[in-house]
Amino acid sequence: MKKIFIQSLKMFFLMTLLTGIIYPLFITVFGQLLFSYQANGSMILKDEKLIGSKLIGQNFADSIYFHPRPSVITYNPMPSGASNLALSNATLHEQVNDRKKIFKEENYLVDTVLIPSEIIFSSGSGVDPHISKEAAILQIPRIIKSRLLNSEESKKVFSLITSQTESRQFGILGGEVVNVLELNIKLDELIK
């Protein structure tokens, strides 16, 4: 038994060295060399200041911006989290109805409009960076009104959404989505 124990001690040491130190360091070095932008968090710089990460959604409450999905952590990922509400939970039903109502009111939509599902349901990570193209388009009336845009500028906003829509990866995987943070940055650039 003593022999086995010593052997497993040696083996444990070896594995810790190999998989706990050499392997992650190797990956870090190669990752940093090959894909330094991604490995460091796909950060967005503006005027040499960090304003966010392409992959981590931000909270937008101001009416001059496109709004992201509901988040139970209001986009503060320390720690990340989701609602975990079951479909049978009355709170979820109330939240969904409230979100529908608020979204319609905020964006001057008629009552019969079908609200995209990501707007009425909160995300899994709490920092989902994306919404659908439809959800972005439905917010245009509010953007126009709060930014006091003329019809030419309004058209630009519309085509901005189209150009910011990411297609399925390799034409197959995932869905068509719009990155809200990038869209809002572009929106600010478009309309000073």
């Binding site: 894909f35 968090g41 349901f121 899994g124 990570s125």
Partner: protein, 564 residues
């Protein structure tokens, strides 16, 4: 439109999984028996070097008791080490956020969880653990717990294939080869691919950014890609970040999602074909793979249907609560089924917020004993227990001595097989009963009504079958759940490993009787059907009463408009 793309993605996934399994099955076969293979030019020298400096005699073979002692002492060391570094986290390096020491029972739970290949997480990585603990402690366990599962499988296969032997292999050689040839190369490739998609890999401290609207957002970082790669490939599932692969830094794009969900099933799938090669019987491998695929695809179809048909409850086009936009409903369903059939337990959507029938599919997948693909090694050795049982039952039906590849299956094997199959089930039902009848158990529930029962049932199902996923509404970071789930994980792991090694040790001694016309074939459709029936009858019926007062009644109540 969506349905079309969902179907394309599904078919693509099945094709890549099947061909990948066949390819890697052959590669692993050569590597694991020590034959020259594709990777030998790079890895043979390091392998021999390890044997030399650690004085491991490659030719030495162990009997099953020595093999088991090795596993137990290695696992015990792992447990002690991971426990200790959590308790001392504050005083150790690589802790840029100055995270304080982990509380004892949480540290106990986490140490057991990673040592048993469960990766149940009662903590949130970004706020509880330092880079040191994640890397030196958890990443290592991600590798070795998977390698131990694979070693046990190899020992069992030797028991089946060796004629009148005494020994079932050398644990240290099996462990080394599993890590070097199976887990490490794939992890390196996957980690680099994941970084290219946006998974972070850095030792910098968390970044604070000033958002467009002017508030501060703390963005957690870390050496994530290296851990996530092995988390998926080793059927571990423990996330670097709290919400696991739903977090964009853990799973940034649909392609990273495809790679990760494929990685969950790839090695368990490949090992089926490795087994076929070791038996010199391809047909048997295809039969096992076919049974697994059938169960897997059924789960996906039922779960997908349930998600789609329940969206009308909210007058919306899709159920997106707890799901991420870049994946959508289908990829969330695909992941939830893959992660529960294999004992992975990582998530890319919150299982608690999926429809109740999807939740039931997840529960059943685990309750079958994690044998549909299952964990690395553990999935297949669990499946072989069911095969032995099927051989035994069908042998009784036709009145012949049950045999499996020429080895007589007798009382000794069946006794141990039944113990191995029943221990996790007993643990689940008994512990769940404690949970739902005590105040301390009930006070952790988030969702009232039948879903509350499902939360507790899910927690112990996941623990006892070493899965690690959760209905995360349940507040599992209490002493009650940390201790009880900790013991569930231990019983579920070693309560199966010990019977499997005992069977291996007994089978290896037996002679191989030649096949006759009266031998019951284990390669035809009939046997596949029998195997599936035994799995469903033994595995699923045990839990039918519990499921009927959990997800089934919840589904019926939602359909009739009740909420809690």
């Amino acid at each position: 439109m969506n349905f079309l793309f969902d179907t394309i993605q599904f078919v693509l996934f099945l094709v890549v999984l099947t061909s990948g399994s066949v390819f890697f099955g052959g590669l692993f076969y050569k590597a694991l028996i020590g034959e020259r293979n594709l990777l030998s030019p790079i890895l043979l020298k390091p392998e021999k070097f390890i044997y030399k400096i650690f004085r491991i005699d490659e030719k030495y073979e162990m009997d099953w008791k020595e093999y088991l002692k090795g596993i137990l002492s290695f696992s015990f060391l792992s447990f002690l080490f991971v426990l200790a570094i959590q308790l001392l986290q504050q005083y150790l390096p690589l802790n840029p956020q100055n995270i304080s020491n982990v509380e004892f029972f949480l540290a106990f739970n986490t140490a057991v969880s990673f040592m048993t290949n469960t990766n149940w997480q009662a903590y949130s990585g970004e706020s509880t653990l330092s880079y040191f603990v994640q890397m030196i402690g958890l990443t290592v366990q991600n590798f070795v717990s998977a390698a131990i599962g694979l070693s046990v499988l190899l020992a069992l296969i030797r028991g089946i294939t060796i004629r009148q032997g005494k020994t079932i292999g050398n644990l240290w050689v099996d462990l080394t080869r599993s890590v070097l040839y199976v887990l490490m190369p794939l992890s390196i490739i996957l980690a680099i691919l994941l970084i290219s998609q946006g998974v972070v890999q850095t030792f910098d401290s968390y970044t604070t950014v000033q958002t467009i609207e002017g508030s501060n957002q703390i963005i957690p970082l870390g050496p994530a890609a290296s851990q996530i790669a092995i988390k998926q490939l080793g059927t571990n599932g423990g996330g670097f970040f709290g919400v696991n692969s739903a977090f964009p830094y853990e799973n940034p794009t649909p392609f990273s999602n495809f790679l990760q969900v494929l990685s969950i099933l790839l090695i368990p799938g490949a090992l089926v074909f490795t087994y076929g090669k070791m038996l010199s019987n391809k047909k048997h491998a295809w039969l096992i793979f076919g049974v697994m695929m059938f169960a897997f695809c059924s789960g996906i179809i039922v779960s997908y249907w349930s998600e789609v048909s329940n969206s009308s409850t909210f007058h919306s086009s899709e159920l997106m609560e707890g799901k991420e936009m870049r994946f959508g409903v289908f990829n969330s369903v695909l992941w939830s089924v893959a992660t529960t059939v294999a004992s992975n337990g990582s998530v890319n959507a919150m299982h608690s917020s999926m429809s109740s029938i999807s939740g039931m599919v997840e529960l059943i997948n685990m309750q079958l004993g994690e044998i549909i693909f299952g964990g690395i090694g553990s999935g297949l050795y669990g499946m072989i227990l069911f095969i032995l049982l099927t051989v035994f039952i069908s042998g009784l039906m036709v009145g012949r001595t049950p045999e499996y590849f020429g080895k007589k299956i007798e009382a000794y094997e069946i006794k141990w097989a039944i113990i191995g199959i029943l221990i996790p089930s007993v643990v689940i039902l008994f512990f769940t009963a404690i949970g739902v009848t005590t105040n301390v158990g009930l006070s952790s529930i988030l969702n009232k009504g039948p879903h509350g029962l499902s939360e507790i049932l899910y927690a112990f199902t996941s623990g006892a079958n070493n899965n690690g996923s959760a209905f995360a509404g349940l507040n599992a970071n209490t002493n009650f759940y940390n201790i009880l789930i900790g013991f569930a994980m231990l019983l579920g792991r070693f309560g199966v490993i010990i019977p499997v090694l005992a069977i291996a040790g007994n089978l290896v001694k037996k002679n191989i009787t030649p096949e006759t016309s009266g031998t019951l074939s284990t390669n035809n459709f009939l046997f596949g059907f029998l195997l599936l029936s035994v799995i469903i009858i033994v595995g699923a019926l045990t839990f039918f009463p519990a499921l009927s007062i959990g997800p089934i009644i919840e589904h019926l109540l939602i359909k009739s408009g009740y909420t809690f």
